[in-house]
């Protein structure tokens, strides 16, 4: 299986590569359109700030490539947020796969949310063998509200989307690569799609 991690200079992708390696898959880091198009599975990572990440995607033309992908795509953290319509962070537009606008957490909770929180209302093959209320590791200041494409929710002051899906596009707000065995199971499920 050919797994490509989109490399657009956004954050820590080493960890995702290592997590896949622990599952027996040697992923390729690439920003090459053909390579990405020909992958069996594509992972769209992201750590950092939304508007500068979007700039980088535009700079390399990947903003045009990603929405055309037909194979399973998994956006992680900022990657998931960039697949939404827009983000309040840096007032940036997104790739518009998920029909929802990313907002900042209110100051009634500590921001960023850092740590292990539970995922609930799970509905997707992505969560096969994952129990309701399983803990996943999250680090973020912005969130996707609940919407039609929500396939998992988390509570932090409010209920929000910790996972989204539309057609072949999947997004998770948590870091499966850092979420112990449960996170590895999610990655394995994605590879099995």
């Amino acid at each position: 299986m050919k797994v490509v991690i989109i490399n657009y200079g956004a954050g820590n992708i080493q960890s995702i590569k290592f997590a896949l390696k622990r599952l027996g898959v040697e992923a390729i880091l690439s920003d090459d359109e053909t390579e990405i198009m020909n992958a069996d599975k594509v992972i769209f990572p992201g750590v950092g700030e939304a508007s500068s990440a979007m700039q980088k995607l535009k700079g390399s033309g990947l903003d045009k490539v990603i929405p055309t992908l037909k194979q399973p795509v998994l956006g992680i953290c900022l990657g998931m947020q960039l697949l939404c319509n827009s983000s309040e962070e840096g007032k940036t537009e997104g790739l518009g796969i998920f029909d929802v606008d990313v907002l900042k957490f209110s100051t009634s909770v500590k921001v960023p949310q850092i740590g292990w929180n539970q995922i609930q209302n799970l509905k997707s093959e992505l969560f096969k063998d994952i129990s309701e209320n399983e803990f996943m590791y999250l680090v973020h200041s912005f969130y996707a509200p609940l919407c039609e494409e929500t396939i998992g929710t988390t509570e932090y002051g409010i209920q929000y989307s910790s996972a989204l899906q539309k057609d072949n596009f999947y997004g998770v707000q948590f870091h499966p690569e850092k979420s112990s065995k449960a996170g590895e199971q999610v990655l394995q499920n994605f590879l099995n799609l």
Binding site: G11, N12, Q14, S15, F18, A19, K21, R22, V47, G48, E49, T107, K110, V111, P112, Q113, I114, G115, W116, N117, Q118, F135, Y137, V139, H140, S141, E155, Y156, H175, E177, K178, S179, S180, K181, G183, E184
Partner: protein, 251 residues
Amino acid sequence: MLSKRIIPCLDIKNGRTVKGINFLDLRDAGDPVELAKFYSENGADELVFLDISATAERRKTLAALVLKVAETINIPFTVGGGISSVVDVEILLNNGADKVSINSAAVKNPQLINELASKFGSQCIVVAIDAKLIKGKWIVHLVGGKVPTDLDLFDWAKEVEQRGAGEILFTSMDHDGTKNGFANEALAKLSTGLNIPIIASGGAGTIQHFTDTFKVGKADAALAASVFHFKEITISELKNELQTQGIPVRI
């Protein structure tokens, strides 16, 4: 519900763990990777690696170690100790560290916090603060607590938050090593006065101390070293008790 985090801390010197590790069931108790793996498989929520080497090769050794740790464990980890520039941070994050912790460099050059937060995001910038209660005031200290500054803990913590730190790791030097419990009064003041997570450090001796630091100290996470390294407390028994006490933990 967001859970409270339990964080073992590993002191690293020249790529090896130091300061009292007593893990007879490990093949090599001095190997940080092996110890990290043990903790990650036994309920730790995060790990902190604190590099205390003073050699010229420290950067290279630490970078290589971070890469090996990232390859091996499946939970987040923070690296700290002598980090003083954007380049230092870039290397560690690129090698797979999730967060970096800065201490003295932030006091000497507070602008560094802004630079790091804007380049890498607040979520990966932890500012560590060592402080000591002197004549009723919490005074920030540097160089592993040896050198006093003229900074007040609460003023400095506020400034650090405003400059973009994502988290504060507060060590009370009055409590560190005593095993008499965490500095809960100061912790509660930090935790309620700021809107970023606070990690309690210094003073863990019993399970009750952890309960107190979450309930009384309102800490978001608790860090400890020797009680875990010497297996005086196992993470699973600790978490079971915290759960019984109504504190949200990941089990």
